[in-house]
Symmetry: C2
Subunit: 214 residues, 2 copies
């Protein structure tokens, strides 16, 4: 077991900012690359990468989890819950669902899709690789049986809230929501909204305020 590509996070560490959490992802990828390149120590400078963030930011981020850097040397071996795997149910076997399902990096990154569900009878029963698409009526059973952590909702907006309620009631702790609506969930449940149209609009609005000096 390689302890290299990991950073140990105490299970109940002090509340850490969302931005820090999101940067961890990048640090891990960078660690993997450098490990593959045979490096045994890594400076905050390297971890920051070119442009992603700054060395100071890296040190600040990592300092939230303890101090496992070696002064004058850099970071050597660290441990994170990367060995941890997450059980995921994908609800919605449409285009977005299939794109996610087919993306190998998800499995590499510790996300195991234990089931794919859909409401469309025409899709139920079809197979994606070894995975047979089930009916969304089975959501509760699947979540309970596989002790699912995360539910991905790649479904129409009209169905999303109802499915979210059912997923939460069955024990899901995190939702990734592709529907363009704001889900209402208990505080203990984490929701990650992915709204590509909104991203696109933000991008275009940003464009409209870029000076195109003549």
């Amino acid at each position: 077991m390689t302890a290299f590509t990991s950073i140990r996070i105490p299970p109940l560490s002090p509340r850490v900012s969302a931005s820090t959490i999101r940067r961890l992802s990048h640090y891990l990828r960078t660690l993997e690359e450098l490990e593959a390149a045979g490096e045994s120590t890594i400076s905050s400078q390297q971890l920051a990468g070119r442009g992603w963030t700054t060395a100071a930011q890296v040190r600040k981020d990592l300092s939230h989890f303890g101090s496992f850097g070696k002064r004058g040397l850099g970071y050597g071996v660290a441990e994170l819950g990367l060995d941890r795997r997450w059980r995921v149910v994908l609800v919605g076997a449409g285009r977005i669902g299939s794109a996610l399902f087919a993306y190998p990096r998800f499995r590499e990154r510790g996300f195991d899709c234990v089931a794919v569900l859909d409401a469309d009878p025409a899709k139920v029963g079809a197979c994606w690789g070894d995975t047979r698409i089930g009916h969304v009526d089975d959501l509760e059973r699947v979540i309970a049986e596989h002790d699912v952590d995360l539910v991905v909702l790649a479904v129409p907006a009209t169905a999303a809230q109802d499915l979210a309620d059912r997923a939460v009631a069955s024990g899901a702790r995190g939702l990734m929501n592709f529907a363009p609506i704001r889900l209402t969930v208990p505080d203990r449940v984490q929701v990650s909204d992915v709204n590509l149209v909104m991203e696109m609009e933000a991008l275009s609005h940003a464009l409209s305020r870029v000076r195109s000096d003549p």
Copy 2:
């Protein structure tokens, strides 16, 4: 022409925060809904929606663009570059590309896909609806001919930087990048990174620091 679902943004307004820009998207959706419901005035409270943000935030956000609210009444008619349409080239006719292409909301929201390109000879020539998939070698020509604003890169990481360079050199002003790498581009070019694995990791890391009181 309905001027209702719009907020006029001066072409060269003072630098506005990214968070504000992203919220505009939501305001516009809300405006549309209320317009459909026959309302003619809208309060900041309504614009905020249930939980998205606060009334004060809405007023602050909109105040960046001028003051077109009516005190004691709310907001009536406003104008934004929503009538503006954006010309988009989609590079990469894989699963993510097809999911984006098929999503009707993009067109509704002002994004016109003027071409779909791919490097795979097996895909070139196929048709998605009325759109024939072209070869990625035509990128420069397509961008120039259609005066493209935005380029969506739904391609493997290994191809992304090269395509970004070519797109920028040909006049693209904004890139939406689905590849899990950091693109290097001139300052004037806006990049919006969409990294679903990173979102998923952020979600799961957030989970691991939620107390599951025993």
